[in-house]
Symmetry: none
Subunit: 238 residues, 4 copies
């Protein structure tokens, strides 16, 4: 066919080429899985839903993924690995603990802004599938925590952090604060469409984990807090 000769030229142009189209298909199924998954959860989602969402035939899902479990496993690992590497990059890039912590927080919130659905899936399921004997999910949680714990250990070695603190608990605290804040948006406790609120949440989270709730002097800037979604309660003044 006359198509072969100009493959090199068109490589990243139109006419995808078989391999490329397949990779594309695979990805679209993965994306669809994230969507359905974020809506219906691990157990609630049906392969049929994923196929329909991806716009492919039922059986094709099984062409690309061995079974439902593996599909979901891939959803996790693909989303998670990106997050992990960005967290790692943030930690490596910065030199002071404070900057590192802010970087981690930033990465998490940025990930949420970019792909709320993906984050929702990760938050709602990672490390929380009881049966999840599946490798990646169970250990994903462990993995980040260890990563951050290492960061805290290094800070202790540099004298930036009291060595009286358990690095693992420091790590869980960091991710606990982040995760719960994001969860608030995910479950609608805070308004996920309010981008400024997201920014402020990010800052407050970083501040809280670094200096605590009562430890630091307040920043003077006042903000119309309590814009939680459920009931837009009238702003209270103190």
């Amino acid at each position: 066919m006359s198509r072969e000769h100009d493959v090199a030229v068109e490589k990243s142009q139109r006419k995808p080429g078989r391999a490329e189209r397949e990779a594309e298909r695979r990805k679209s199924i993965l994306r669809a899985a994230v969507d359905v998954f974020s809506r219906k959860g691990y157990q609630g989602c049906r392969i049929a839903d994923v196929a329909r969402e991806a716009g492919v035939a039922y059986g094709l899902v099984y062409h690309y993924f061995k079974n439902k479990d593996e599909l979901l496993e891939d959803v996790f690992s693909s989303g998670w690995s990106g997050f992990l590497s960005r967290v790692q990059a943030g930690i490596t890039r910065e030199t002071s603990l404070e900057a590192q912590v802010r970087a981690v927080v930033q990465v998490a919130f940025e990930a949420y802004r970019r792909d709320p659905r993906g984050v929702k899936v990760l938050i709602l399921e990672v490390g929380r599938s009881p049966a999840g004997g599946a490798v990646s999910r169970g250990s994903a949680f462990t993995h980040v925590v260890q990563l951050a714990a290492e960061m805290f250990r290094a800070a202790q070695a540099r004298g930036e952090l009291s060595s009286a603190l358990d690095p693992v608990l420091c790590a869980t605290s960091l991710f606990g604060v982040i995760e719960m804040a994001l969860t608030s948006f995910v479950v609608g406790l805070l308004d996920r469409r309010d981008e400024q609120l997201i920014d402020r949440a990010r800052d407050q989270v970083a501040e809280t984990i670094l200096r605590g709730l009562v430890g630091a002097g307040p920043s003077p800037a006042e903000a119309p807090w309590n814009r939680s979604v459920p009931k837009p309660k009238t702003a209270r003044r103190d």
Copy 2:
């Protein structure tokens, strides 16, 4: 009911009385549900499992609970209401924010010590069933957060907390730190059998949320940290 009055008399006697026996049955089913649930998760557990665990007949579960959802709802609410009321009591009992925060942390860790399985269920499922149109579960999370948010608002009103902070985010931070620490025990990242570790975790968590990781000077007491379960890495000295 005419049965109530002699409860005191028969309390620990034979012939429990029909109503009592029924209440007992109901509770044993509920307990069994918590067990199975903590082992297999919301979706993974079958009514048959619960019945077998409780030692009752298959169909009997449906005498006491309308359906599977209601059973699980009850598991949640019964476990949750106790937690909620104890949190509320702790907040009410104390007057300073700091004492209140410590009280909340204490309640959570105490609950874990008393009933790790129950806490596991709450942690792994509360607010995390995406399909969970179920009222109580979705709102359970919201409920405590609002409770704590109110506590923080009051503290702001008393001038104990910077009014620049969003009370809702303060609340999520508090529970995020607590929850993730307990999760570490639940998933085995920290050794759940090490009772001293649990105590230290409780203290560090309270300290962290109050003063932050870098904000406060270290407590002088040294502890053999890093006793995380996976690999008992060599203790570091400061």
Copy 3:
């Protein structure tokens, strides 16, 4: 209940009693399975067919049988064990090899007359499922053959049979002759509705295995042979 006391009286009367009714159900499913199985074969039959044939709900089949394989296993073994024990009885009852052989042939043909469908299933499937890792089926064939081989060995010991013959091959010959004759009826090569033909077939089969086709003088009685079903061809001259 007033039903319990007269159970002994009514034992085989109406009012089946739970256990009895269940056994009945189980049997009816088994019977239905034989039917469907004989019509569509091992792989071709669907659980839905069996359920419909038995007049029970789909899921009930799974109440009584673990899965399709076990159901079919039971179909085999239940049918086969009856046959086996009757073969054994026939062998034990008779003392001369000749009478024993006739008894075995008689048992097989009688079984066919009684339950052609059951025999069809056994003939078409026993020892013929290639994947049949299943215990009973694979070994069922082996079992009868060994049984008959033992009979022939005993006859050799008594001097009734040449010890130059391999008992196992004697046994396969016996069942081969029987089986293929019945197969002729099963597949319609011979008219399965012609009861006299069945009787003559039985006699000829016994005669053939005992004395061979050319070894014995013919019985003087002439018979209008060649009444095969497909086309009742005009009698040929002898």
Copy 4:
């Protein structure tokens, strides 16, 4: 086609020629089908298995065979037609019934020696697919039986066989004895690797069908019988 004319020229040259290569492909698929079929059976085998075994692409099977059924049909008929013609040749070549019977037995055992897998397929499936509305398989059985029945009829006409015997039953007896003996090897009841055993089995089978088990005096030659595979039971006294 313009391709045909030069086939003769290139017949045994290099460049097999398209037509030849295709015929080759077709045959290799057929061979692969026999293999897979003999291992997994009619229903248990998948087109994918056949393609893999043949070393060709999935879809190619559908170039050469309309569908799975036709493929299997061809497996049967190709294997069967060879057997049939050899049986026919044996019958035609010989003049006495006894020699003819021995020839038929010989053909069958020779076929088994040459291609045990093919024979296994024929034995396990021919005439035994209940759903097998397929023409050739159902009738294949009928066909040989009719062929042999004709042989017996002719022998009756020549006075070599009692006309009291039903020729069709004579035929089923002949093939029954043969088939069951071969089945013993196929299922492992007799050791298929013992070539001498196969030879003796052939002889005994012929002897049995001709003179019966008790009708004929034993051949003086003694043989170490009972070498069946399962348990090499201790030799019995003669």
